[in-house]
């Protein structure tokens, strides 16, 4: 059932083509091609502003005028009376186009338009961010008059408007091409700016009651709690809500002038001083192509790359703006070791402070400690989910051959044994399965445990494109319909957290034709099951299904029953690569089951060790490793890039590391783990190394090193460390580390068995309690967003969502402060009444002031107490909703 073949279908009908002549050059292009694109095919650049290949034609700027002649019914080629906009007109057979290169009329028309565009444009290029890479500047030089005849008065506007903390608008620079407004309507679907006024006063603007002549809202009435409301001051968007978009940075990139600029980059640099390196976004599992621009070793900005197969030309604001973490002040630049005070029996009586050490000292010490720990009760390995594929393979080999353990797990999140089995069975070693392109063409897409916009932004954009262009029907198993789902025109299949398995199971049963209990809505089930049975339909499951026992099992059953293809979309960039590398207990690289002797033999051969040397019994997962450490069943642990706060029970994890006799940490920056480590080995962030991420499609996304750096990638540090432990890891050089992946191609033997976990009854919900729902928002309190204040201002403020029934039961009203608590702790947030499953309270999993795991020690699916906030309740900073600052600035 799992897709293992590539998606190209044989027998695709040949593309219908059209032949025309452009500047006396004959060109054959697919039917429906615009003149401007056909011209590009023969190397003719027609100047343009409003045209963008991924946006619907507008024909607004008129810069691309060309002369067109077409054959009439008798076949006589007749010129059209007026020059035509080449960005809106499709080529037709026999069409004869003359561009500015061969037509004086077209050239004059273009010069005329250019002069008009420049007439009101400020001559502030020397201070404009776009200067040097500006389509207006460039095309004015190539296709403009040498002088302007305009000697009258220019139009000016007060500058700039802060659309959000991140995006600024200088209206006088705007040429009104509408790329930004079309992007926000057609691509992201979160229109926040629109055209206003008319004629020469036409401008891009925000929702403004004064401009639009709306009646102001009456008095100080109590508005509904604004949800999806950013932390920083933001202007209201066109729907009147405070503007909050995860994709707004794209408008800065496609703006053909310097009208839209990013606050973080504004006035920071000149494009011609920048050195650009193509790279891959490290913030989610989509593997978006990005471009890193640096100047003298400092990254100044990141842009979207252009990869039609993956992210097209769009990236999330997180991939664009969140890069300062890599050069944060708490970067670890040298190895650190911790001196210990031992008693005369050699027992640790006090841990000292970390101090800088040489690599030799640190590696020697680390090797020594690991040897002792391994030979005592063993060493566990927690790698975190952000590794490159090369690192993941090195970690996997390090664990199995150096530490001789299978106690290895990359999952720093809620996880389950069922999930590990699912990944081994259905994901590892399956190659490229469902692709972004497949999503656009799928008749039906079912999302389960996945909020695409928050957890895999580019996936959301591609899905939305499919919805708008091809009518993809989206279904989502979730507790409530988010704004993202609404923009996918999706249908909610309401499920309390932990009960996703019920929906998937019922659908599978229905699809298999078996009878169902009478109380299940058969109509919806038939619609979804029938839809998924259509060829090309896709089921997308997120990592959050790990919190719903039986959900992965049922998802597999549903895929088998309907024939729909299944894809697993984790949040973190390294998780798919980690699955491929075997960073899970019981799983060896390439999807090889650890329990299979033949698989072990293949791995042993590739790694140059005896097959017997590899562990043969499945080891512990993240939870098991932490439990074992805390009770002394494991002596030591090697930890990769991992935040304790991301773990389901950070407090427990902290105790576990404190109890461990030997902790080695490979980290970029100081963290809770390094503070508990005995040896800290610094590693390089993505910008300072080459590598590749393995995105959720199964596509390998290699990237180069952007910055020169003395920092070492994980695989190199592990190689050195292994050397001190007497093992050649074969991962010293990046090329060697990369080739090590190829040495273990996908497993062709029998795959690990499918999970067969049973559903569990949802816990009883007593009065005053509710089931906790939570997931990560794209912009939250994550360590990889540190240091980017402008971006942080666009993150959504945390609210507690619950249905009216739940709120009534808890005696709170919309906008009231509610306290969600466990025996461990409490979180107080404003209530946002939401149409959603009753007796469920939703919190952002890890937003500023709302760290669910850390503060409550709870995970989605757990029962928590819900009560009105006490008078002295401490409100998390930034969470209180006040109704006065929405329209400020």
């Amino acid at each position: 059932m799992t897709a293992t073949t590539s998606t190209t279908q044989s027998g695709t009908p040949p593309v219908e083509t059209v032949t025309c002549t452009i500047d006396e050059i004959e060109v054959t292009v697919p039917k429906g091609t615009l003149i401007i694109r056909a011209a590009e095919q023969v190397g003719i650049q027609i100047p343009r502003f409003c045209d963008h290949p991924l946006l619907a034609p507008a024909g607004a700027c008129r810069q691309c005028l060309v002369e067109v002649a077409m054959p009439d019914r008798e076949g006589n080629v007749r010129p059209m009376p007026k020059p035509q906009a080449s960005c809106t007109m499709e080529v037709t057979p026999g069409m004869v186009v003359k561009t500015q290169r061969t037509s004086p009329v077209a050239e004059k028309a273009q010069h005329g338009v250019m002069e008009l565009l420049l007439m009101n444009h400020p001559l502030d290029c020397p201070v404009c961010d776009k200067g040097g890479e500006c389509p207006l500047q460039n095309q004015a030089m190539t296709n403009g008059r040498s002088t302007s005849r305009f000697e009258d008065v220019k139009r000016t506007f007060p500058k700039p408007i802060a659309i959000s903390t991140e995006i600024l608008l200088d209206r006088e620079r705007c040429v009104l091409c509408q790329r930004c407004t079309r992007f926000s309507e057609e691509i992201a679907g979160d229109a926040f700016i629109a055209l206003q006024e008319r004629g020469a006063m036409q401008q891009i603007g925000r929702f403004d009651e004064a401009v639009l002549d709306y009646a102001p809202p009456p008095g100080e009435h109590r508005a509904a709690t604004p949800v999806d409301r950013p932390h920083g001051v933001a202007l209201p968007d066109t729907s009147g809500l405070p503007f909050s978009s995860y994709f707004s940075g794209n408008t800065v990139q496609i703006c053909p002038v310097g009208a839209l600029t990013g606050a973080a980059y504004r006035f920071r640099s000149r494009p011609f001083d920048l050195v650009s390196t193509p790279s891959i976004g490290e913030h989610d599992s989509c593997g978006s192509a990005i471009r890193i621009d640096h100047r003298r070793g400092v990254v100044l900005r990141r842009l979207s790359g252009d990869d039609p197969a993956v992210n097209e030309e769009w990236i999330t604001d997180k991939d664009r703006f969140a890069f300062t973490w890599q050069s944060a002040p708490d970067r670890i630049t040298t190895p650190l070791v911790r001196d210990r005070t031992l008693d005369r029996y050699g027992r640790v009586v006090a841990r000292g402070e970390l101090r800088p050490a040489s690599w030799v000292e640190a590696l020697e010490l680390a090797a020594e400690g690991l040897t002792d720990a391994r030979d005592a009760r063993g060493v566990g390995v927690l790698t975190g989910g952000r590794l490159t594929a090369e690192d993941a393979y090195a970690w996997s080999r390090f664990a199995r051959t150096v530490l001789r353990t299978d106690d290895v797990d990359q999952r720093a999140r809620v996880h389950s044994e069922e999930e590990a089995r699912f990944l081994a069975h259905a994901v590892a070693g399956t190659g490229v399965g469902v692709t972004f392109g497949d999503l656009e063409k799928a008749p039906h897409v079912l999302l389960a445990g996945l909020e695409a916009e928050e957890e895999a932004g580019v996936t959301f954009l591609r899905l939305r494109k499919g919805v708008l262009r091809n009518g993809v029907k989206v279904w989502s198993v979730a507790p409530f319909a988010t704004r993202g789902l609404a923009r996918l025109e999706g249908t909610l299949l309401p499920a309390a957290p932990g009960t996703e398995a019920e929906w998937l199971g019922s659908l599978a049963t229905r699809a298999a034709g078996a009878p169902l209990p009478a109380d299940v809505g058969a109509g919806t089930l038939d619609a979804v099951a029938g839809g998924l049975a259509e060829p090309g339909s896709v089921i997308l499951v997120g990592e959050r299904l790990a919190a719903s026992p039986g959900a992965y099992t049922e998802a597999l059953r549903l895929a088998a029953a309907t024939g729909a293809r299944l894809a697993w979309i984790p949040r973190r960039a390294g998780e798919r690569g980690g699955v491929e590398a075997g960073l899970l207990p019981g799983l060896l690289p390439g999807g090889r089951p650890l329990s299979d002797p033949a698989a072990r033999a293949e791995v042993a051969a590739a790694w140059g060790v005896d097959a017997d040397a590899l562990p043969a019994e499945p080891g512990l997962d993240t939870g098991g490793i932490l439990d074992a450490l805390s009770v002394g069943q494991l002596s030591g642990v090697v930890v990769g890039g991992l935040e304790l706060a991301d773990l389901p029970d950070p407090q427990h994890a902290r105790r576990a590391l404190e109890a461990a006799s030997w902790v080695v940490s490979l980290e970029v920056r100081r963290s809770e783990v390094t503070e508990l480590a005995d040896v800290v080995l610094p590693v390089a962030p993505p910008a300072e190394r080459a590598g590749s991420f393995w995105n959720w499609e199964g596509r390998v996304r290699p990237f180069g090193q952007a910055l020169e750096s003395s920092a070492l990638p994980d695989h190199r540090v592990l190689h050195q460390l292994a050397g001190y432990l007497g093992v050649d890891l074969g991962a010293d050089e990046p090329l060697a580390a990369h080739r090590a992946i190829g040495a273990l191609p996908a497993w062709r033997g029998e795959r690990a068995p499918a999970p067969a976990a049973a559903q569990v009854e949802p816990p009883p919900v007593a009065p005053g309690t509710a089931v906790l729902a939570a997931w990560h928002l794209l912009l939250d309190d994550g360590a990889l967003q540190d240091g980017e204040q402008f971006l942080a201002g666009t993150a959504k403020r945390p609210v507690a969502r619950m249905s009216a029934v739940t709120a009534a039961a808890a005696d709170v009203f919309d906008g009231d402060l509610v306290t969600v608590s466990t025996d461990r702790g409490a979180i107080t947030l404003p209530v946002a009444i939401t149409e959603m499953v009753d007796h469920v309270v939703w919190l952002p999993l890890a937003s500023r002031g709302c760290r669910v795991h850390a503060q409550l020690g709870a995970s989605p699916g757990d029962v928590v107490r819900v009560a009105p906030a006490a008078g002295d309740a401490v409100v998390v900073e930034g969470a209180r909703t006040d109704h006065t600052d929405g329209g400020a600035a």
Partner: protein, 451 residues
Amino acid sequence: MSEPSTSVLTPVLTDTWDADRSWKLATYEDAGGYEGLRKALTMEPGDVVQAVKDSGLRGRGGAGFPTGMKWGFLPPPDGGPRYLVVNADESEPGTCKDIPLMLASPQHLVEGVIITSYAIGCHHAFIYVRGEVLHVYRRLQAAVQEAYDAGYLGKDVLGSGYDLEVTVHAGAGAYICGEETALLDSLEGLRGQPRLKPPFPAVAGLYARPTVVNNVESIASVPAIVARGADWFASMGTGKSQGHGLFSLSGHVTRPGQYEAPLGITLRELLDLAGGVRAGHRLKFWTPGGSSTPIFTDEHLDVPLDYESVGAAGSMLGTRALQIFDDTVCVVRAVSRWTDFYAHESCGKCTPCREGTYWLKQVLHRIEAGQGTEGDLDLLLDLCDNILGRSFCALGDGATSPVTSSIQLFREEYQAHIDGGGCPFDPSRSALFDYTPRSRRTPALAGTGGH
């Protein structure tokens, strides 16, 4: 109209304007109203379309596209809705035919809407009325209500089994919304800006459904064509410009107003009917079809006012809005005011119109204020050349017509402004009534554009 013979007039739409309470349904019915509808309902819809085709009726909104042919562009019925939208957004400077018609005799339009809707298979028609004319909007709503009450509208029109709803919608006051696709956007509740064509409204118009957009006068002409026959209609007018039309005379004319006559009548004849140019003055220039049509002078008094003849003479018949300017008028001042209008009404979508009108306006104000320079006239002509045919819709084209044609005809008058350092005319002399001119302080250097 006592002195000259009025026999050249062909009052059809204007026939009952002098009747008591001419706007009431009863008045209209007494004069034979709704006979056309009763007849149409006995015909096949296709035959109604054919009759309008045969009559030679051409769009009365300015472009003169054959109305019946436009209806014929609708794709075959697919079971979904199709719409008739009446363009009653009359806003062109000088044009004043639809608004008087809807005020004086709205049932012509209502009956025309019903017959047209029946012919094209539409069950919901819209009348988009210019927002500023509230009195017309109210009168039209009352007329539609009267038609509903009388059984001409609603379910089962006159027992024929045909259903039709009519919605009268008031725009918000934008000239651009007279452009048919901008009108459709505005009607859908969007910002009124012209749409990319294709698809044309006949294929994907209102709510992306097949739509016919027609001018008020075109639709109002339909009942008589059906009632009296295509031949009757085609017997009026000239070769390819058949039928009757409203000619609106305004400005320096003794009896301004709407004169309904066959196409092909000349301004000389119309001026005779209207009592001539203001006493003591002579004709200097005039527009044949509103401010967007190139101006004419007294040399063109005998140009037959039909599509072909006016076109051959270098202008356009447009909306037959004949603005008469006598010898007291400064052509620079008149053109400058028209240009102010276009700069004010440019929707802003495309560069040539948005920026071009902004620039034209400033140059014209400079010239009028005596601050013009030698190169300004050539600059104006070249600017117009860069706007005409380069803008997204016809608004930009229209903005250039008065500038280009006036410089062609009155270049020396422009030059006099530049050479003489100011306007040689006294604007108060051109006023039809006494007034005290406001300060002549020019706004040319204020420069903020806008409105």
